[in-house]
Every structure is written in C-alpha cells, then in structure tokens.
Point group: C2
Chain length 405, copies 2
C-alpha cells in the first residue's frame, strides 16, 4: 500500500488501523482465553537418557524395591555381629578370612565390596577402621552392632512408592535414579510443535535495513519453554502463510509483526479472514497490540513487531500457551528474586506493565522505559517486574518480585 | 580380585584400599586445584541464532547507531510541528496528505509506518488519536510538539557502546538485539569437550543388576554446564581408558566409580600410573572419595561410584571445571532461594556437607541423610544446602541459601 492512502476498509468496526485501540482485553481475559485452548498434549515414550528436561506424563512408579535385596552398604568385612562382642584394640576378635560367595562359617569373615550381597549367616559389616587383615586372618578391634553397614532391601525406595516429586521437568539426578531402578523408557508429555512466522518487512524506502530480531529470539524462547520450532519463515502473504501453518498440524502458530494500528498492520485482519480473531489489543505494556485467535483448530498468537513488545507478549501469552501444551508451569519461567525497590517504578493504572530493571546492590532500579520499544534496554536489564493493572507502580522500599533473565 | 584377598600392594602409602582415608584435601584446596587448571577455552564463531546460551568471548560491540537514522517511532502522520500550534478538536489544523517519499510540502502531512524514515522537512509525528484522515485531507486536533513520535538515530544504542551486561550466557532477547543490529556472527567461548567414562560394574555375584545411573546423570549435568560429552563409555580397563581419553584431545576426562577404599577401587591408582594423582579424598559429604589429577595435560576428575556422592562431587568439583573452561560462573549453577531453617540441619565439623532439603511452607527441612547414598532422597528434594566445614549445621530459624534443583 502506498503511503498517504487509507487502507482498504473491510476490517469492520474492529479494524484498528489508523484509528487505534478503542478497547483492549485485560491480561486476565487474554490468559483465560489461552488457558481454555491449551490442554496438555499427549504422551510419548523416550529413553531415560533423553528424559532430562521433559515433563513426566505421570509420576514414574517404582516397580521394585531399591535396592532390590539386602546388600553391603559400604566396603568392609561381613561378620556375625555376636562374634565381635567385647572386641577392643587391646583384645581384638580374630576371624579366619573366607570367600564371600560361600555361607559364612563360624569364626570366619569375608571381604565384600559396597553393593555386593552378604554371605549367608553374616548379619553385619566391619569397616576398615575397625578391622585389619593380615594374611588369612582378620582382627576386629571393636564390637560391631547387628545390621551395621547393611543396606536393607527397599531402604531407599519401596516398590510402589510414587515418585510424587517428579512432576516438573526431570532433573539429571532424577534420570539417574530412574536408570538405577532399571527404567529404560519414560513416558513424557509431547513437545508442542510451534510454527513460527515473521511478517515480512514493512516498506521503509531509504531506511538502512535492520536485521530480523524475531526469529532468533522467538526460536530460543519456544525451545526454552519446551516447544519445537517446526518452521521459521519470513512471509509477506500473511493469509496464505496462516492457512498453510494451520494445515501443517502444528499445535500453535506464532506470527510476529503487523499487529499495530499502522496502514500495513494486516495480521489481525488476515487471521479474522482465515480463521477467527478472539481479541486484538491487550491491556499490557509493552505488547498491547497482541492478538490471538484460531485458524481451524489451531491457536494462533499474533505478536507485535516491535521486538520488546514481541518479547513481552510472548512471555505472558504465547509462551504461556507453549508451556501449558507441554505440561509445564504456565507462569513466567524465569528464576525470581524478591527485592526492595530502590528507585520508584512508574506504571499506568489499567495496564499490566513489564518494567525492565536492574539490581544495584540488591535493590531494584527501573531502567528508563524505552519510548519506542527495542531490545537495547532489556539487553542490559537483570530482569523485569510485572506491575499489576490496579497499581500505578511501586514506591521505594516496596518489596517486589524480579523475574531474572 | 577374589574376595578375601588383599589387593596387590603397589599403591604406596597413599593407597587407601582396605585402610580408609588417612587425610583428605579440604574442599577449598580441591577447588583451588580445579581453578589453577581450568583457564577459559578459546573463542569460536557461531551464527547469531546459535548464540543463545553461549558465553560471549568478549562483550559484543555496537558498530553503528541503533536505530541507524531518525525514524518514525510509531505509526502516524509526519507533520511540521509549527503548523499544528493552537489546533484543538473545535478548531483542527488541516493538512493535505502527500506521499512520504517526497519532501514534505508546506501545509502537507504524510502517513508513515513505525520504523520508516520521515520525509524531509517533517519534525514530528501526529498519532492516530490526534489526527483523522478523510480522503486526501488530514485534521489534527491538538498541538504536536517538535520531535514527538520520532525515534532519533542512536536513541537505543550509540555506536561504540559496549554491551557490558552481555557477559553471561546470551539470552534470547539479547540474540534478538544482536540480530537487529545487523550482527550475524558472534564470537563465543568454545564448548568444553568432556570425555565421560564409567567404571565397569563391580563384581557382585548374585546381586540383581542395577542400571547405570552415571551416564544419563553426568551427560545431562555436563550439558547443563555448557560442555559437550564426546563419548560416554563403560570401561573395565581403567588404565587403557584413561590413556585413550587423554590422547583424544578432550578438555576434561570424568571417570566415575571405583574411588573408595574397597578392594577393587582402582581408579586413583590407575590415574597415578597413567598420569599424576593430585589428591584422593576430599573433606566433603557425600562425595568424600573423589580424586583429581592429570593424564598428560588433561585434567581428570574421578567421581565416586555411589550416585549421590557422584552428583555432589560433580557439582562442586568436576562441574566447576566444566563451567570455568567454558567461561561460565564457576559457582553452583542452580537458582537459589534464601529461606529460614524449619528443622535443624545437622552436619559434621571438618566436612563440607551437601544436605538434601525440601521447602515446606517456605521453610527449609532436611530430608533424612541417606546412610549409604543413592539418589532416592535427592530425587524428592527441592534442593540442597551446603554447610561449611566450620559449622555443625544450622539451628531452626537460621537463614540459609537453598540451591534449587
């Protein structure tokens, strides 16, 4: 479209182009829409080594005792504890060393390695600090209590124990536990498949070209949230691109760019034409021009072209969808820190605001809000603070939650 | 080696087998050894999309102003601000619409999209809330200040600004910023290449087999710390495996298992034979039988066979080496939370102890220390608390740092 012309009408009363947003969905409403359309995906089986970071489809069950049988809990000498009573370093108890594979003869002891079964008849283990071998003879210099050094069957885990703590992403040591329990395959929630589209560049004759921030940023964010980016394309034909993306069997389509009130901001209209637009405009800053809807059965998130607004709308809307589809915690995935506000944080009542901040000597300082977006401020921020709709910010001394990058 | 026989002598006075540890390195000494042998690796170039999570070899420099030239900060109409003075909704200022590509004629306005350059002569942008077009005419209903709506060249970043905050792993939005600055290749610290060896199973005749926890756990931990696992093998011939690993050009060799005081705990002896053993035994629980040394020029970490001790020694020693080689923060990489102790944490003076804990209603509760190791307790912990050598634990009410899994 040539500058100086009105866009072709046809968007109807909801077409915000050259008018601006008459009203916007609240962030709560927008998130409720997301939550209603993001049931957790089905399960797939993966090898235990590939299960790290994945979400168990159900808490893994322990099918047998761990350890499966009584065994030496440490390296030492298997003995009959009764035969060590009264032993001291002045009057050691003497034992004849025998092989651990045979039942323990009276007056005999057998060297066993940690993890090995005890010979029949043994009921305790004398550690190396209390027992010294010399040739075929062992001297024990202290009483050994019955059961000492023995790890009982099921002492770590009883068969049938639900591994209830394993609901979030599987940690490296949890995969290690599963492997040591003999588990080889784990049922995990499928990765959400995300189709990533970037609206082709706006016509900006004479402007030095700028690189596309969206693809590397959104790609990495989707992967962080457990999604798989199936395609990442720059498209000018938004309708065709949305149609093809919906037909691709993706779990979510993200289209970034062209959501504002400019003459060429056609993404919401394209979605309305191809499928259904649920809302356009969210009471969120930055990110207020975001829109969501459906193309066929597939949820579509339209994210603003300004990369900071895109980031913010991703984190609070599109990313929430990815996280929910994949069975993850739908909230913001950043580590958080509670901290005191050092310099006043200003926000507008009626908008949820994501304020870029840094931590200076443990106190929260807002970084000048970028008037026109852009990632430069966020790139040097330590994180951000989300100011709720009802507040006009936070005074110095208020305690806030910082979402750390 | 058959049970009941002493291991072949030859380990000398430092051979702990069947004797136990006479003395151990302090964790500080062990970490100092690590730090002296883990200079940051050299730089490699990667595409900006692959730079997420990598460590910049140097803070990326901004080579040009961002934005590179004055441009529309938002969608709107380019005007001469002086021609809007006194405009109100009752007495709007009228403009003739023209194309944005031509210099702005007196009395004219031009529609421009966010990011586009302004026509020559324009010094402000009237937003859609203050301007309404009708046919070829635009009515502006308020004074527009000089410079309004214009994003100046370099307003986000001036050429030469060091991106000093970008020292840690590159975040998705930082990669986005680099891309939007036109950066296509980023110089990052090379991935440490880690050779992973698991000592073959101990002879445990008659014991039901247990799976190998080490490989999946250590593989995932090394990758979490930015390393690349080059091979992960189970080996019984420890000397040969160490020799081959050292010759492979790896940056670090990790061998887990066979570090204790049992008859078949030959890993430290094998390292002493193949290269040099720096220390065997650390004042750390669990993980006290860890050892480190060199095979040729390559650092070698020997981690205990018990998987919980292996985890702990990895986090505090081997992982520190991986993190330092890769230019990361050498400290524990877990998110942390400060919290109050709810139930007493008990520890031994003279040992650094990693205590598995859970957070119950925000308070720290120790989980029963597993007498013989194993990952079952860690798998249901929320994290762990590191109790320093000088303390015998923490009383209820003490504030501690929890390293969260």
């Amino acid at each position: 479209m040539a500058a100086g012309e009105r866009p072709t009408p046809g968007g109807g009363p909801d077409d915000v182009r050259l008018r601006g947003f008459a009203d916007r969905a609240s962030l709560d409403q927008a998130q409720a829409w997301v939550d209603a359309r993001s049931a957790r995906l089905g399960a797939v089986e993966v090898g235990v080594a590939d299960s790290v970071g994945r979400i168990p489809a159900a808490p893994p069950a322990v099918v047998r005792d761990h350890p499966p049988a009584d065994r030496a809990g440490e390296d030492g000498y298997a003995v009959r504890s009764g035969e060590t009573i009264g032993a001291t370093s002045y009057s050691p108890a003497s034992f004849r060393l025998q092989d651990a594979a045979a039942p323990l003869a009276p007056g005999a002891a057998a060297l066993v390695a940690a993890g090995a079964p005890l010979p029949a008849g043994a009921d305790a283990l004398a550690g190396f600090d209390a027992a010294q071998a010399s040739g075929r003879t062992l001297e024990v210099i202290g009483s050994v209590a019955e059961g000492a050094g023995i790890e009982r069957a099921g002492q770590q885990l009883r068969a049938g124990t639900p591994l209830g703590a394993m609901l979030g992403p599987i940690r490296p040591h949890q995969a290690g536990l599963l492997a040591s329990l003999g588990v080889t395959r784990v049922s995990v929630v499928a990765h959400p498949r995300v189709r990533l589209l970037v609206a082709g560049p706006k016509p900006a004759p004479g402007a030095p070209g700028e690189g596309d921030a969206h693809r590397p940023m959104l790609h990495a964010l989707v992967e962080r949230d457990g999604g798989i980016v199936e395609a990442a394309e720059v498209r000018s034909d938004l309708r065709g691109a949305l149609r093809r993306a919906a037909a691709s069997g993706a779990d979510l389509v993200i289209l970034s760019g062209r959501t504002g009130a400019g003459p060429d901001d056609e993404a919401p209209l394209a979605l309305a034409e191809v499928g259904a637009l649920a809302f356009h405009g969210v009471a969120l800053r930055p990110g207020g021009s975001a829109a969501m809807g459906l193309a066929g059965e597939v949820p579509v998130a339209l994210l603003p072209g300004d990369p900071l607004a895109c980031l913010c709308a991703y984190e609070l809307l599109a990313g929430r969808l990815v996280r929910r589809l994949g069975g993850r915690d739908p909230g913001l995935p950043h580590p958080t820190r509670e901290a005191e506000v050092g310099r006043k944080i200003v926000s507008a009542v009626g908008l949820v605001e994501a304020c870029q901040v840094r931590l200076a000597a443990g106190r929260v300082e807002p970084l000048g809000a970028p008037e026109f977006g852009g990632l430069a401020v966020a790139a040097r921020a330590d994180g951000f603070v989300v100011v709720p709709e009802a507040l006009e910010g936070y005074p110095p001394g208020a305690r806030v939650t910082v979402h750390l990058y």
